[in-house]
């Protein structure tokens, strides 16, 4: 076992473990942050595999993305204490089996596929970044630009469907329902 395998295993197990935690914890914020650490572990695996640029990019992007996920979870789930015993699952058996079969199938392929010898010589990190840049603004420019355009379109479209329809009359808050009291420990401040 090479050092690389050990690191891959360590980060890989962390990624899988955090991935499982996402669906096991009851706290919404924990769930989102567990996903973040799972993705970060994947980014670390990229670094182990010497894909430095991708690894750093993955680690950077996911921090923001998952934090935003966390705030949406809090918004939608109304579970302020964070440790409430929420159980929001359905079709447990089906999904469990689907997950197991997917895992079994994919790992079977991985084990029994004929991968041939693995490459040992790869371009160094600086060279990779240079090559990737030339690739992006050369042969793959169209694809890259389309991706950029897609994300722009998605941003605009998402914003426009998410903004409030202007004609809705402002509803008066129902005072009969008491708000949850987050007790403030710095209360007397």
């Amino acid at each position: 076992m090479s050092v690389q395998v050990i690191f891959l295993l360590a980060f890989g197990l962390a990624a899988v473990w955090f991935g499982i935690v996402v669906f096991r914890t009851h706290s919404m914020v924990r769930s989102a942050l567990a996903l973040l650490f799972s993705q970060t572990a994947v980014g670390a695996m990229f670094l182990v595999m010497q894909a430095e640029f991708l690894g750093v990019l993955q680690i950077m992007m996911m921090a923001t993305e998952m934090s935003i996920m966390a705030i949406f979870m809090v918004m939608f789930m109304m579970d302020p204490g964070g440790l409430g015993e929420m159980d929001m699952k359905h079709q447990r058996k089906l999904s469990l089996w689907a997950g197991i079969i997917a895992f079994g199938g994919a790992s079977g392929l991985a084990l029994f596929g004929d991968w041939g010898p693995i490459a040992t010589q790869i371009p160094d990190a600086g060279e990779q970044v240079r090559l990737l840049g030339i690739e992006l603004l050369g042969r793959s420019m169209l694809i890259f630009e389309s991706a950029g355009l897609t994300i722009l379109t998605a941003m605009i479209a998402a914003t426009s469907i998410a903004v409030q329809p202007p004609h809705r009359p402002k509803e008066t808050p129902d005072k009969s329902k008491e708000p949850y009291q987050v007790h403030n420990h710095g209360g007397a401040a």
Binding site: M1, S2, L8, G12, A15, G19, F23, S31, A32, L35, S38, Q39, V42, M45, F46, M49, A51, F53, L54, L57, M61, E65, M69, F72, M73, F76, M77, M88, K89, R92, S95, L96, A98, G99, I100, A102, F103, A106, S107, L109, A110, W115, G116, P117, I118, A119, P123, Q128, L131, L132, E135, L136, A147, I151, A154, M155, A157, A158, I161, A162
Partner: protein
């Protein structure tokens, strides 16, 4: 020896399985999105592993990874927009309660 590749692929498979389980078992839209994120992360892992261990000279593979990352971001943006709209109209992002979306 292909041990590195196989280890990475099996880890990706495990993440894929977890993602499938999450996406199918969760009733909350945001949690389903988390499952999909895991599935996409597994895809990313496979892509990088194939690039690193089989075709390190094909830099297009890395470009492909960037595209998948874009897909992740787009999925988030659209998913949240749908979630907000549903939450505004129904007060819920539970897919169990989205009967009108069922065929």
């Amino acid at each position: 020896m292909t041990l590195e590749l196989v280890v990475t692929l099996i880890i990706a498979a495990a993440m894929f399985g977890t993602g499938i389980y999450g996406a199918l078992s969760q009733t909350n839209l945001v949690m389903i999105m988390m499952g999909i994120e895991l599935i996409l992360a597994a895809a990313l892992l496979n892509l990088v592993a194939f690039w690193r261990y089989l075709h390190p000279d094909a830099i297009e593979a890395q470009m492909f990874v960037l595209i998948v990352m874009t897909v992740m971001a787009v999925e988030m943006a659209v998913g949240f927009a749908v979630a907000i709209t549903r939450f505004r109209s129904r007060g819920s992002v539970e897919m169990e309660e989205a009967q009108e979306l069922k065929g």
